[in-house]
């Protein structure tokens, strides 16, 4: 790959990382909201007593879901940090290669031999190694996105079940139904974020 192609690639990777980080931010905010909502729901279920036992259990699960999601997001952020570091090294190397190429064009004799050697070293070993490390990180990123999608799927099942339980909660039915609808809507926001993320990632990889 030429150094200009390398630059373009690096720019592309950085933009992708920015997009992923933006989505992570929004998912983290939403997960925080779910956590608060679940805490609220747990109190509500306690007040409803016997009639809302099932709803209480599901609210606890939803809270755990929110915590897991937050954990998943911080792992994802760690990964994007890792790929930023690699991309940064690639950008630096691309710049070095570009300048060394220019120096090569202007230099004759022994100086040129010295630069040839340096340029060869660059292209062959380091660059390939960094690119393959980036590939590994990208694959792990994809895997983690798939895992997160599954986790959110579980969250949405929990929200639907909570809605059903709410219907059987006697006098509290109306308020619990409202709470579980809120859960459902909020989780579907996360699903949309993840879909966008997955789509971006697949297209970029493809």
């Amino acid at each position: 790959m030429t150094s200009t192609a390398n630059d373009r690639n690096a720019g592309f990777e950085l933009r992708r990382i920015v997009r992923i980080n933006e989505e992570i931010k929004s998912v983290v905010a939403t997960a925080f909201k779910i956590n608060l909502m679940a805490m609220n729901a747990i109190f509500l279920a306690k007040r409803a007593g016997q009639a809302a036992l099932g709803f209480g259990v599901l609210s606890n699960e939803l809270r755990r879901f929110a915590t897991d999601l937050q954990g998943q997001m911080s792992a994802l952020r760690q990964l994007t940090y890792g790929s930023t570091a690699i991309v940064n090294a690639l950008v630096k190397q691309a710049r070095f290669s570009r300048i060394l190429d220019r120096a090569r064009e202007q230099t004759t004799g022994k100086g040129r031999d010295i630069l040839d050697e340096v340029v060869r070293g660059h292209h062959d070993v380091d660059l390939e190694e960094k690119r393959s490390r980036l590939k590994v990180v990208n694959r792990r990123l994809q895997q983690m996105l798939a895992d997160t999608t599954q986790l959110v799927e579980l969250g949405s099942v929990l929200a639907r079940s909570a809605k059903i339980e709410a219907a059987y909660s006697g006098g509290f039915s109306a308020s619990l139904t409202q709470v579980s609808s809120d859960f459902e809507n909020t989780i579907s926001l996360i699903q949309r974020s993840l879909e966008a993320l997955n789509k971006n990632h697949r297209e970029d990889q493809g």
Partner: protein, 245 residues
């Protein structure tokens, strides 16, 4: 490409100035690099910015094997001084860089590692190149807070970093100052603004007045020779510095 001009030669002892690149884009400041050779060894003064590396390297190669450069002297931390460091290290990983202790943890952002830098204490130090003894002369706050010039007592040359610098207009590309009064007009605004401390300036003028200097070589612009060295020091001593105008 820059041109390599020998400004001093006595047997194995040489000073080569790498100057004036007609192809340099004008958004980059023009710089002078100086190679001090003694026999098989050399030291490069202010190796320059990363973007002008090709011009400096190619000109230098016409005179000297760049792998035999043992040392780099960085007068201070600016990007036009040291941002090419990483590239010089590419083919010369053992290269050592003399630099004010103040900047030894900043300049590695341009390249190099723990082993690369030799910190110069505030009072200065001697630096050996082959059998030649050079002296790092304190020039703090002119303009950088950790700043040194390099004196070669045998050649009677003082490399003076940004002191003496002139931003010459298009076409003003002579290697030496020919008409001091004409020349100094292009140095005035630069010194007023960049040099921040009047006390440091007076201190420097007193210090270098003790040295026997035949050439004062700045990092930008033309070289002062003979009586113009004295003229410059006197002019600088009387200039009001640290002024935004």
């Amino acid at each position: 490409m820059k041109s390599a001009r020998t400004i001093f030669e006595n047997g194995q002892h040489k000073w080569i100035a790498l100057v004036r690149d007609p192809e340099k884009p004008d958004f980059l400041i023009d710089t002078n690099e100086y190679l001090i050779i003694d026999g098989e060894e050399a030291l490069l003064c202010d190796p320059g910015g990363i973007e002008i590396f090709p011009a400096v390297f190619s000109a230098l190669c016409t005179q000297f094997d760049p792998r035999r450069i043992r040392h780099v002297f960085a007068s201070h931390q600016d990007p036009d001084i040291a941002s090419s460091l990483g590239l010089w290290l590419e083919f010369n990983p053992e290269l050592k860089c003399y630099l004010s202790w103040l900047w030894t943890s900043f300049v590695p952002h341009f390249g190099g590692n723990k082993e690369t830098f030799i910190p110069i204490p505030d009072g200065g130090m001697d630096i050996m190149v082959g059998g030649l003894k050079l002296t790092a002369v304190p020039a703090h706050y002119l303009h950088s807070s950790g700043n040194f010039h390099l004196y070669d007592p045998k050649a009677k040359i003082l490399f003076s970093g940004d002191v003496g610098a002139a931003l010459l207009p298009q076409g003003g590309d002579g290697l030496f100052v020919e008409d001091f009064n004409q020349h100094i007009r292009f140095a005035e605004a630069f010194h007023r603004r960049w040099m921040g401390s009047d006390m440091a300036k007076r201190d420097w003028c007193a210090r270098v007045s003790q040295l026997d200097i035949e050439m004062l070589c700045p990092q930008h612009g033309a070289i002062y020779r003979g009586d113009d060295v004295r003229r410059f020091i006197d002019w600088f001593a009387n200039l009001e510095v640290g002024v935004v105008r």
